[in-house]
């Protein structure tokens, strides 16, 4: 079972073993503007996704 990544209402499946920073790079997102949550805890960009992980990427950038 692959891991799932949620960002701004969209969900995508990612192969287990992929690191968060690889996901961010693939999505064209800067790690400086995102925090990543797996379950109830925050993870750093070197975290490797496991089977069944549900990762939520939260944008830290706000503007106006």
């Amino acid at each position: 079972m692959p891991a799932t990544v949620k960002f701004r209402g969209r969900t995508m499946e990612v192969e287990a073993g992929t690191r968060v920073e690889d996901v961010l790079r693939k999505m064209g997102l800067s790690r400086e503007g995102i925090i990543a949550r797996v379950g109830s805890r925050l993870v750093t960009e070197d975290y490797r996704l496991r089977d069944g992980d549900e990762v939520e990427l939260i944008s830290a950038i706000s503007g106006g």
Binding site: R31, E32, R41, E45, I61, S62, G63, G64
Partner: protein
């Protein structure tokens, strides 16, 4: 990745500082940096009566939480702009109210619609500079509430990304007058105004988001102001983050070195028109009416087609 201090699992990697931190040590450092900014830039005294402008977003709620943790006497002010699109104002207000209630803090709610009969959508009518209109409204209300409530200092949740991006945007246009005014503490230039301070100015947006998450602060995360979509400030922040990605620490260096060398812009400020008192609200004004009362007047006239008489009851 492990915490550089205790080897527990890290929740954030601060590449600019070559530091990874667990929840406990991150919160500890966050509070230390807030206190450092307060002392380094003489933002306020321990005994100052502070009014924190809260929007329901991560930065302002994180600031209110941090100031309270550090022992400052801080009340909150939520300005209900009356933005119905995407339920923006209702949701933001609920977040601010829930935060205050959970922590037993005092939140003052100021509704534009209730106080003036006009909400943000009416006040911004016909203006292309939406964010600057909002700025005029917020500044006026913050000063009014601070004056009436006897507060000595107004604190806002502007973070390092906000400050660095404003600085870059001003320099890209060589707007030296605006650059000359940028500071972590903006002094009041009239007895009815209050100094504005930015205690989060040394902390990045990612750090305030992490602090809010770790501290269990429920903030407006998925929703942005519907009027700020496509705002230039977001594009500048993203550009700075691309540079930061390549050279960690650039944002902090750019901003703190600017503060160190600010005097090179001294004398660039635009001369203020002789200060008068607004004939409608009594706050300082450059002309007959202050900027806020001019907006209010414009919004009311906009509702009366063909009638361009001035309304003497404005404010």
């Amino acid at each position: 990745m492990r915490c550089s201090r205790c080897r527990r699992l890290a929740v954030i990697n601060l590449r600019a500082h070559r530091l990874a931190l667990c929840e406990r040590h991150f919160v500890q450092r966050f509070l230390e940096v807030v206190e450092r900014a307060i002392r380094r830039y003489s933002l306020m005294h321990r005994s100052s009566k502070v009014l924190v402008a809260v929007s329901g977003g991560k930065d302002s709620l994180a600031l209110w939480d941090a100031l309270t943790e550090l022992g400052y006497s801080a009340d909150g002010l939520y300005i209900d702009l009356g933005i119905e699109k995407q339920d923006y104002s209702r949701i933001s207000r609920e977040k601010a109210e829930a935060f205050a209630e959970q922590r037993g803090l005092r939140l003052r709610v100021f509704s534009l619609k209730e106080e003036y009969g006009s909400a943000m959508p009416e006040l911004r009518r016909g203006s292309r500079e939406l964010c600057s209109v909002c700025g005029i409204v917020k500044r006026h209300v913050m000063n009014r509430v601070a004056l009436e409530g006897g507060y000595e200092v107004l604190a806002t949740g502007h973070n390092l990304d906000d400050e660095a991006s404003v600085l870059l945007a001003n320099l890209l246009r060589w707007n030296t007058a605006l650059a000359a005014r940028q500071a972590p503490r903006v002094e009041a230039w009239h007895e009815k105004l209050r100094p504005k301070v930015k205690p989060l100015c040394l902390l990045s947006e990612r750090e305030t988001a992490t602090y809010a998450f770790v501290r269990g602060i429920d903030y407006v995360s998925e929703l942005e102001c519907p009027f700020s979509a496509g705002a230039t400030s977001i594009a500048v922040k993203e550009a700075l983050n691309r540079i930061e990605e390549h050279s960690p620490g650039t944002k902090l260096y750019f901003y703190t070195q600017f503060l160190k060398h600010r005097e090179i812009f001294a004398g660039e400020e635009e001369e203020k028109a002789p200060v008068r008192e607004c004939s409608s609200c009594g706050f300082p004004a450059g002309g007959e009416l202050c900027s806020f009362c001019r907006l209010l007047l414009k919004s009311r006239l906009g509702g009366e087609k063909g009638d361009n008489r001035a309304d003497s009851r404005v404010g």
